[in-house]
Amino acid sequence: MKNNALLIHPGDNVAIALRNLGSGEEVKAKEVEGFPALQDIPASHKIALRDIPAGEEIIKYGEIVAVCTKDIKKGEWVHTHNLESKRWRK
């Protein structure tokens, strides 16, 4: 099966869906052991690669891009509903 997700940087705790992924579908990315998506993930959106507790930083491109506001489980969709910006907080 082809990869359906991309790990941009080895230090990232999220991968990027390369197409729309369905709940339960196996997430496959290079250098990542397969695991199921826990919910639908839209194309180009983020999926948690491990459990990320609230308050921890979201790492993409090897850099901090946000802080999560809720406990996030591996395989969950990571977006504005469970994270916030470190600057320009709303």
């Binding site: 082809k2 290079k30 180009s44 959106h45 850099e63 891009v65 320009w88």
Partner: protein
């Protein structure tokens, strides 16, 4: 790794093209440039909208830096400069900036050489003469550490930061490791990443320059756009999966790769350091490209998701599509399909494909923007016209 070659220039520099540039000093002579272009299509003819009508110190600095940067450009082997006579950037004022360019230069002014038509005839004859003169210049081995490659993104979409800019970043890292210099700009697209870029700075001084540059870009954006400034991260961006301004900007700046930032240069200013260099320039493609070219880049990678055909008169521009759909729609304009990452292509394979194409382009293969003649030349101004 295969060898790369280029044309030797003064002061140890190399070009990867050997163009005869026919450059206007001011918009008033654009018709003359167009006549020469019709008569001598092999010459790179550059009309533009600048040269007069602005008086602020910053615009003066940029005007002279960019026009002289075009004359000095390493891909240019000889120059025909067409002036009017009474403009701000007239040929006499430009001479001190270009007389050490180390290449054949012929100058004609409409107000001295018998009007527009006669000037066009003289300019065309000069262009033909110079084409013949530099035709025989041999290509020689080009050391990687004499290569300056620009990274640009424009007409971005949600996949730009996932596929195309990640691929550009991989090429940037590869080039830096080879000893080359990589330059990228677009300060408005760095907002929210000061903490990232400053940490990657070579030293405290460069870190401070980066913080200042991004801070000023943010202030300018808020000053000009007011409440709309928050639209630098728009609902459309969020639909595309970008949750924060930092994430969006990371997707832009990742085209520069992950290495240490060794220098910050002003718009159109030439780097003196190797490795990764950041330019304080605007996000608008045309203006950004002119600044990166005036800095002396010989080659540019340009990622696009929505699809733009733009090229640059003196620079081969390698277009990288972020998604397969736009690649298929605009295949005549786009050189590389980074959307192939979605179809299972590995990043290292895509990078190898891009490096392979880059080497062929350096050695003379024309990019699609070059074949199509999609030249655009415009540069940044900050003051209103008067």
């Amino acid at each position: 790794m295969r060898e790369i070659s280029g044309y030797e220039r003064v002061r140890g520099r190399y070009g990867i093209r050997n163009h005869v540039l026919v450059l206007a000093t001011v918009s008033c002579v654009n018709g003359v440039i167009q006549r020469i272009s019709r008569e001598v299509p092999e010459a790179v003819c550059v009309p533009h909208a600048h040269g007069c009508g602005r008086g602020g110190a910053r615009d003066m600095q940029i005007l002279f830096r960019v026009l002289s940067g075009m004359v000095h450009h390493p891909n240019v082997g000889a120059v025909v400069l067409i002036g009017l006579g009474c403009e701000i950037s007239n040929t006499k004022s430009l001479v001190p900036f270009i007389e050490n360019a180390g290449k054949p230069l012929e100058i004609f002014n409409v107000q001295e050489h018998g009007g527009a038509r006669q000037t066009a005839q003289k300019g065309a004859a000069a262009a033909r003469r110079l084409l013949a003169e530099i035709k025989g210049q041999p290509r020689v081995s080009l050391p990687w550490d004499q290569l300056l490659v620009a990274m640009e993104c424009g007409g971005s979409d949600a996949m730009s930061g996932v596929t195309a800019n990640v691929a550009l970043g991989a090429v940037s890292d590869w080039l830096v490791q080879k000893g080359a210099t990589v330059i990228f700009g677009e300060n408005t697209e760095m907002i929210g990443t000061a903490h990232v870029l400053a940490r990657r700075a070579k030293n405290e001084r460069v870190a401070k320059q980066i913080e200042k540059l991004i801070d000023e870009a943010e202030k300018r954006t808020q000053e000009v756009m007011g409440n709309l400034a928050s639209w630098v991260i728009s609902p459309g961006n969020m639909d595309g999966g970008m949750s924060t301004i930092a994430e969006k900007s990371m997707g832009c700046i990742f085209k520069g790769g992950t290495t240490t930032i060794n220098q910050v240069v002003d718009y159109g200013e030439a780097p003196t350091e190797k490795g990764l260099v950041l330019q304080d320039g605007p996000g608008y493609d045309a203006d950004s490209m002119a600044g990166l070219a005036a800095s002396g880049s010989q080659l540019m990678f340009f990622s696009t998701g929505r699809g733009t055909p733009v090229g640059f008169p003196t620079l081969p521009v390698i277009k990288v599509a972020s998604n397969s759909r736009i690649y298929e729609v605009m295949e005549d304009d786009l050189d590389i399909n980074a959307g192939s990452l979605v179809e299972g292509k590995l990043l290292e394979d895509l990078r190898a494909q891009m490096v392979d194409l880059m080497i062929r382009v350096i050695n003379g293969e024309r990019t699609k923007a070059e074949v199509n003649g999609m030249d655009v030349f415009a540069f940044m101004t900050v003051h209103p016209p008067f």
